[in-house]
């Protein structure tokens, strides 16, 4: 369960804005490159300083410590960082069923990070994030390096996870078809402002 609401939130490159990410629903964020989408996600996850209020359900961000907030607000960056040599070292526990849903074998726990393809990295980074049980998901182009079959797998996994755990999802993607497939609400950054893309909100 997790709804994220922002009041007069200020992130780099953007004018202050209000935004609601309802629990269990997926919101699309789009905008030209360099418009500050990634910076916005980083600020929402409290990875860098920001101003304004951010509420997770009934609690304001400042009542959490930085690590407590970040553990709940799961951020998936386009480029994932890996600090140890083997895949398994980065997980509290590796769920075999989840691995299978993204077409990864249980042996992938022993794989070396350096030998992963970019697609494997991306899928494993998503699983690493989910195994951390966040209450909100901020996804920065989570399928950018994937082939069509894996895009479908990732989309289905995120959708079922969202329904099952009632997490709010903010999904950054350029792909118009994907925007229509996965998103319920659509926001767009245009010249430093965050606007509801009302024409397509359904």
């Amino acid at each position: 369960m997790g709804a994220l609401s922002l009041k007069q939130f200020q992130s780099p490159l953007l004018a202050p804005f209000d935004l609601e990410l309802p629990a269990g629903e997926c919101t699309i964020l789009s905008g030209p490159s360099g418009s500050g989408k990634t910076r916005l996600l980083r600020a929402l996850a409290d990875l860098e300083p920001s101003q304004g209020e951010a509420w997770l359900d009934e609690r304001e961000k400042q009542t959490f410590t930085g690590p407590e907030w970040r553990q709940r607000i799961g951020l998936l960056l386009a480029e994932s960082g890996w600090w140890s040599e083997r895949v398994g070292d980065h997980f509290k526990h590796l769920d075999e069923a989840l691995l299978a849903r993204l077409d990864l074998p249980i042996e992938s726990a022993d794989w070396e990070i350096n030998r992963l393809s970019s697609g494997e990295r991306q899928r494993l980074a998503l699983l690493r994030l989910l195994s951390n049980r966040p209450e909100v998901l901020l996804l920065d182009e989570p399928t950018a390096n994937l082939d069509a079959r894996n895009i479908t797998r990732v989309e289905e996994l995120i959708e079922s996870w969202r329904n099952q755990h009632q997490v709010a999802v903010l999904w950054v993607t350029h792909d118009l078809q994907q925007q229509q497939r996965v998103g319920r609400h659509r926001w767009r950054i245009d010249s430093g402002r965050l606007n509801l893309d009302s024409a397509v909100d359904r």
Binding site: P49, R70, S80, N132
Partner: protein, 267 residues
Amino acid sequence: MTLIQLTPFDLSLASILVVALALLSHRLSLGIEGRLLIAALRTIVQLSLLGVVLKVLFIQSHPLLISALAIFMLLVAGYEVMARQQRHFLGIWGMGVGTLSMFISSFTVTILALTAIIQAHPWYSVQYLIPLLGMMLGNTMSGIAIALDNLTHNAWQQRQNIEARLILGHSWDAAIRDIRRTALRSGLIPIINAMAAAGVVSLPGMMTGQILAGAPPMEASKYQILIMMLIAAGTGFGATAAVWIGSKRLFDEREHLRLDRLSQPKS
């Protein structure tokens, strides 16, 4: 045995060797002849000045004058630590991290050695305090400079990995732990190597000096052992303090990684 006095002529002979090296550097276009000559000149001027200052302090050993010299040495060492880093901390922390760590380690270890081990009278007697402090500062300075440079360099290089851990809700302490360990190890390796090679490969400076001055070799050995232990402890504690303060400074109160607190690298 008495000390054979060196004349200015003797020193000129030795200096001619450095000038010859500078000429060679010029011929081979190594481009370091300028730096070499300036460093040599600094050695001559600084050590001559120190000789004069110590001569005055030997006659007029007022605690205030001794403290003033000690603090001056500490500040120069603090500046050196900052100057040796590719990316140093901005503002007061640039000199602060190294100076504070050296103050904590070098000063306490030196005072401990003077009061509890050597037991000179008075304990701040110039003849013991300044040489001891000088050796402590010189060595801890190197260790701390290497450790801090390693810390900030790796934090910059591995920012993605540090942030990956922060994103998952790890504390700043967990996120920087591996980098901190590597930094500390790199700061301690020179003194460990020096201790391992002492007496077999290298004849350490202080022992050489005492033997030249006519001290019995066994006494010189004992002093050298004492100094090596103090330097190892001082470097270790100093580098630990520096790396700890430095790594904490890399994060703010909400545990964001704040690489903007580091300077741009020198070109």
